[in-house]
Amino acid sequence: MIPPAFDYHAPRTVDEAIALLGSLGSDAKLLAGGHSLLPMMKLRFAQPAHLIDINRIPELRGIREEGNEVVIGAMTVENELIASPLLQAKVPLLADAPKQIADPQVRNRGTIGGDIAHGDPGNDHPAISLALDATFDLQGPQGKRSVKAADFFLGTYTTALAEDEIMVAIRVPAFAPGTGWAYEKLKRKTGDWATAGAAVVLRLSGGSVSHVRIALTNLAPMAIRVPAAEAALLGQPLSAASIAAAAQAAQTAADPAEDLRGDIAYKTAMAGQMVKRAIQAAAARCS
C-alpha cells in the first residue's frame, strides 16, 4: 500500500516533460492516469526516484479528426473514448471496447496512451490498436516520430518507446462505410483483465471478405496480430469452415502464460472461441 518516496514534477508542456526525462534519466517515470504505475509502486515492484506528472499538459488531450484519421491525445481517459461522438461515428470499436476495460472510476483516470505504453499483454488497447492499424506519435529530444502498432509491442512491458520519449497521440484510420468490428473478451468478472480476448475489424464485398485484421489479448507475451487467421478469411466467403480455419490459426499462434486465469490448453482453446465470436459479431455489423 505504501509507495516509496519520490520527487514530483508537473510540467505544463511536452517539451518541458521531455527535458525532465533527459535530465533525470532512467530514475524518472512518466505519471499518466497512474492506475498501473501507482499500483506497482504501492507494491514496490517499481521504485522510481522521480515522477513526471503529464496530467497538466493540454496538448496531450482531445480527440479530433484530421483528414481520414481520428487523432486521440495520449492522455485521453477511457471514459472520454466511450463518450466521444467522433469515435462512435468514425471508429466505433474504439468507443465501445473500453466499456470492457476496468471499472468506471479507473476509466476516469486511466488513459489510452498509458494503457498502450505499459506494454502489459493483459491490457486491451494493444490488440485493439493492432486491429485498427493504429499509429503512435512519439516525441523525444530529437523531435517526433511515428511507429505503427504492428512495430510497437516488443515483449511483456517492453515497447518501442524510448526512455526519453513521450507518446503524444494515437492515430487511427476512420472506418470505411460498412466496416464490421468486435472485441470479444473472456473475463472472470467485470474489471478483470482478459483470460483471452480478440479484436476483429472486417469488411465484406460481394459476400467475400475484402478486409480483415485480427489481434489477440493476453494470449502471448505481448498483443499479437494473427496474419494466418486473416489469410484464412481474406477473399473467401464467410462460412463455418473459413471461420473455423481462422480460429484454428489463432490457436496455433497463441502462446499464453499459465496463471490463475487458466492453463495453456484452456487459454489456447479460448483464443479460438473469442476469434470465432468476434468474427461473427463483426460480420453481423458489416453492411
Binding site: 514530483y8 499500483p39 504501492k42 506528472d53 472510476q105 479507473v106
Partner: protein, 163 residues
C-alpha cells in the same frame, strides 16, 4: 524528498497543506483532514471503498496522489448532506437497507452521487455496471440497486418540484 504546498478545496473549504509527493489522497483525507468516512479495503485499486469525487468525477483516492489535487475540488461523504438534510443517495441507502457493516457505504454513496448525474434514469443493468468499481461484502448488492433506484426517483422528483 521535498514536500509540495498544495491548495485543495475539500467539501467547499480550501485547505492549504504541505504534502509529501508519495502521500496517497486517501491518507491525506483520513489522516491530515480527519475525514475518515472514506475507507481502505484493498491495495490493488479494486474495492472502491476510497471513492471520492474529484472535479466532477468518481476517483479511487488510493490511486491518486494528494499532490495531484492542487487546485482541485474534492467532495467526500462528509460533504453530501446539506445543512443536516441527507442527500437522496444517503436517504435511498437508508430506506432500502443498502448497507450493513457500512465499510463500503461511503464509497458506494460517492459513486452513486456521481453516477446519477451521469445517468439520471438508469436501468438495473446500468446501475450494476455503473457501480462495478465498488465491492460490498454484506449486502449482495440487491438492496444497493434498490437504494440507487430510490435516489434516482427522489432526485427526479426534486427536479420537478424545482421546475
Amino acid at each position: 524528498m521535498a514536500k509540495k504546498l498544495i491548495s485543495v478545496k475539500v467539501n467547499g473549504r480550501t485547505q492549504e497543506k504541505a504534502v509529501e509527493p508519495r502521500t496517497l489522497l486517501i491518507h491525506f483525507l483520513r489522516e491530515e483532514l480527519s475525514l475518515t468516512g472514506a475507507h481502505i479495503g484493498c491495495e490493488t485499486s479494486h474495492c472502491g471503498a476510497c471513492t471520492v469525487d474529484i472535479d466532477g468525477q468518481s476517483v479511487k483516492s488510493c490511486t491518486h496522489l494528494a499532490v495531484q489535487c492542487d487546485g482541485s475540488e474534492v467532495l467526500t461523504v462528509e460533504g453530501l448532506a446539506n445543512a443536516g438534510v441527507l442527500h437522496a443517495v444517503q436517504e435511498g441507502f437508508y430506506k432500502e437497507h443498502g448497507l450493513q457493516c457500512g465499510f463500503c457505504t461511503p464509497g458506494m454513496l460517492m459513486r452513486a452521487y456521481r453516477f446519477l448525474q451521469e445517468n439520471p434514469n438508469p436501468s438495473e443493468a446500468e446501475i450494476r455496471a455503473g457501480m462495478a468499481g465498488n465491492l460490498c461484502r454484506c449486502t449482495g448488492y440487491q438492496n444497493i440497486v434498490k437504494a440507487v433506484q430510490y435516489a434516482a426517483a427522489k432526485l427526479q422528483q426534486n427536479e420537478k418540484v424545482a421546475a
